[in-house]
Assembly symmetry: C2
Homo-oligomer: 269 residues x 2
């Protein structure tokens, strides 16, 4: 399988490092023109893992005739390239799912997927349990409440600064409660997880989000609760930081790898 | 899409009732020869939902040239038909996953899937979170502990009878603790859930199972805990009984439907 990647930051490097070269021998990476020289320099030497080719235009990526394309370059890259890729019939896996909180963009991408007959995959990312949520949603939108819990210091620089005194917080405090769409817009660092749950369930407007600063918390964690007529469940997840880049969750990388392997037509397992 | 089903009991009937006829207009059901007349009588009248055809031999099912085949007939049907279907290149979704606790049968089916180039899908069934578990397992087998929790009366007729006095139980009691393989063999009613987790993680022998009788429990519930170097999570699930048949979980039906729709090559969403 020939994999397409958009972006060549820490997620892309971690992902390439995990690719089984016998199943994904070739990768073509789309980077910004300004990053082309650096990216060529960063590409692993021939012989270690998959062969990596770097291009700087969408035309270059399309000309490489890759199978599935994975985006790991940020929300703007989903908006800029996603629909064109799907329209060409190429399956697309966006890591930056938060971009789909823009309802027009989401609709545009769904149309492109239909036109191209190509799948738009929602990877589990830093969260899980989307398998059950997607199954329950077939029966009507479930009631979902998501909680993002971080130590107070981790919320610095977000709108939380203006709502609570993060330095003085003594107890676990819910400082935001709103819809998924409101949360994805105001707290972009949580947007990808919120979007993964929203897109698997009843959408951004039918999902409640609570953001929590907890002085007892040692790491970031996610939890959500689902109530539907046929099942209720809760899931609580604590991700370990990626040693190479604490801002990148390794579960995000692992879930992208899983979805890539599931798209491999040669290896059905 | 033309769906193949093995078995025509309550799961099959619930599933057929949920199929969107515009996406799955045709179903061929394999039943035992002795059940053929009854099954023909049970088939819904033309015009309401998908058109249902009933056959009584594997040859009849194969001759119908269905897309994906879903098994909902019990463990014996997986053992009898699964490998043949996969070897013919037809994707196979077994609801009775517990059959794969038989290591020889499991290996045989994986070989058949490779030979046929057809996918063997593990549906989430009565459980969820397998998306994250499968992603984590790419990094090596996670540590998994599953707990099946039921009211004492629900364990009657199982080996638990000989271990604890179910009628007199006053507190929540773990009466079984062992590997996934031991649990699937001794407690067949939990085998499908145990197998779904085992097959998504590190296998039956690298999974701990605890079975619990809880006088406070009002319904059956499942929970499991996953510990891996990159993430830990817990999920707790309480399924509502299917009003048509309390022994069948509606989440099982919904997750089969989700996997069927995901196999539809005409509708990528």
């Amino acid at each position: 399988m020939h994999l397409g990647l958009i972006g060549y930051g820490s997620i892309a490097h971690s992902l390439i490092g995990m690719l089984p070269a016998d199943r994904v021998p070739r990768v073509t990476v789309l980077v910004r023109p300004a990053s082309l020289d650096k990216a060529k320099h960063d590409a692993p030497p021939t012989g270690s893992g998959p062969a990596v080719q770097v291009v700087s235009t969408l035309e270059g990526l399309l000309a490489a005739r890759t199978g599935v394309v994975v985006e790991c370059a940020g929300h703007a890259a989903v908006a800029r390239f996603g629909a064109d890729i799907l329209r060409r019939g190429i399956p697309f896996i966006p890591a930056s799912l938060g971009a789909l909180a823009d309802a027009d963009l989401h609709e545009n991408m769904l149309q492109a997927a239909r036109t191209g007959g190509a799948r738009l995959t929602i990877p589990a990312g830093a969260i899980g349990g989307l398998d059950l949520l997607q199954a329950l949603a077939l029966n009507g939108p479930p009631r979902v409440t998501y909680r993002g819990i971080k130590p107070p210091a981790a919320w610095k620089g977000s709108p939380a600064d203006a709502i609570v005194d993060l330095d003085a917080l003594a107890t676990r405090t819910v400082f935001f409660s709103g819809t998924g769409r409101e949360a994805a817009s105001a707290y972009p660092k949580n947007a990808n997880v919120v979007a993964a749950i929203a897109l698997s369930g009843g959408g951004f407007d039918h999902m409640k989000v609570e953001l929590v600063a907890d002085p007892e918390a040692r790491a970031n964690s996610h939890s959500y609760e689902v109530i539907s007529p046929i099942c209720t469940y809760t899931i609580e997840i604590a991700n370990s930081p990626n040693p190479a880049n604490p801002r990148t969750s390794m579960t995000t990388v692992a879930s992208l790898l899983l979805e890539i392997l599931r798209h491999d037509p040669q290896e059905p397992l």
